[in-house]
Symmetry: C2
DNA sequence: CGTCCTCGAACTGCATGCAATAGACTGCCT
DNA sequence: AGGCAGTCTATTGCATGCAGTTCGAGGACG
């Protein structure tokens, strides 16, 4: 299918496959990525693979070498903390924009529904984490949409491309952890508070809550780091420096 | 030079040339970009051009069409305002990080020097705008460096890729405007205030000043929009919707 | 024994050919 | 005359061949 159909294009296949390979740690960080072997492995030609390499370089997962070629980036814990804090800043801005730009309360209907579903999940005796992560992602997407800013949407998408910075990434790996429930309760409390602030037009408050909400992910990271089984479920864990 | 030497590569040539063509308005916004003719025009083959197209798409200057190919993006005034506000948010975070992460005052030496040179330029009876823009860019780069965050640096680079969002873009087009001097005085005042806040470790204040500093660009934009000669000097002006 | 130089192979970046599709144009039918 | 279907061309996405360079290994020299 040489033209069109982006979803089924070789380039897309290469990009998704390459990302998966990197997150799984099958390509050692700080090591040159072999273009030829990779093409075979992904079942694509070198041309679309090259495009995929450029894409991931833009996302910050690969770094171009001076002499040509790419290496997989590795991340220190400080890098991860920075990415999470940055996501907080951007989602804070999204929350503020949402509050400032709300035209009618009916725009919040979608987010309200998601919040209520989250309530239901958290209220259960033993919450289904997968479902929570799903709804959580939906909540965050909805909030960004309410900001009505393409530039902001793109900026957030870029940050979230880093595996750890994503809203649900750290939650998903916690299935084995006992303190997860507390975290969920706090997170959901913040979801509600943010929604209220947006509805009331309190931009500054919404912004601050979103920032603090992101910092919850930082707390989660610390929990995950000391748990072997949780670490193995964390996507992109092999890219972390000074862990293991 | 098939390998290495990124600066002289065909891909770089294509990327820079394409950006220039777009900013100059030689490619009509919202119109399909012809791959073949463009390759000839830029003096490169289709392969590196394709890479350049993907790059500019990531930067937000091009948009991929569902059926294949790309179009040049156009921007409403709201889009520009958003990009500027977003830059303010990110530079605000940079200023806050700089304040929070300052280890010794000597780290500020570079920024102090630039600030003093800016003082000298602004103090002149008729300031040389080009020189101001140059130093202004250097100031902003220096501030971002002090934040010591790769993720933040990349995020800012992405936003600034949009022609209007860049710190000096709107200043450079104002040569013919009379109120320019006032703007320079205010901007330089904010530079100094930010520097002081960072030195004192006042992160929150530094952040707010940086945000307000960016909003100065929004004010500039309004000045530029009502001046025909200034508009012609604005890079990327042809991409603006509802202007002219 | 260490260092420098030379040779080689492998790999990257680029150019081009090919196949398949999307859109335009024409002609026909209603 | 307007709409629809068939065809046709221009254009994109992909595969592959080629050339040049970089990095490693091996040997020679100090």
């Amino acid at each position: 299918m040489p033209r069109g159909d982006v979803a089924g294009s070789q380039t897309t296949k290469a990009t998704l496959g390459l990302r998966e390979l990197i997150f799984a740690g099958e390509l050692a960080p700080e090591e040159r990525v072999p273009e030829i072997g990779l093409a075979e492995r992904l079942g694509v030609s070198r041309t679309p693979l090259r495009l995929a390499l450029a894409t991931l370089a833009h996302e910050g997962l690969l770094r171009a070498l001076p002499g040509g070629g790419f290496v997989v980036c590795s991340f220190s814990l400080d890098d991860v903390a920075d990415a999470i804090e940055l996501r907080g800043v951007l989602e804070g801005t999204a929350a503020r924009f949402a509050a400032e730009r709300l035209r009618s309360e009916s725009e919040l209907d979608g987010l309200v529904a998601v919040t209520e579903q989250l309530d239901a999940v958290v209220g259960k005796r033993s919450p289904v984490l997968e479902r929570f992560v799903e709804l959580n992602d939906e909540y965050h997407r909805g909030l960004v949409d309410l900001a009505k800013s393409d530039a902001l949407t793109r900026a957030i998408a870029n940050v979230v491309a880093l595996p750890f910075a994503s809203p649900g990434a750290l939650l998903a790996s916690q299935a084995a952890l006992t303190r997860e429930q507390e975290v969920l309760v706090v997170a959901q409390h913040q979801h509600r508070a943010m929604l209220d602030a947006v509805r009331a037009g309190h931009g500054a408050r919404a912004e601050e809550i979103a920032r603090e909400h992101a910092r919850l992910a930082m707390l989660n990271l610390e929990l995950v780091l000391v748990s072997e089984p949780a670490l193995e479920r964390l996507p992109g864990a092999p890219l972390l420096r000074g862990v293991g």
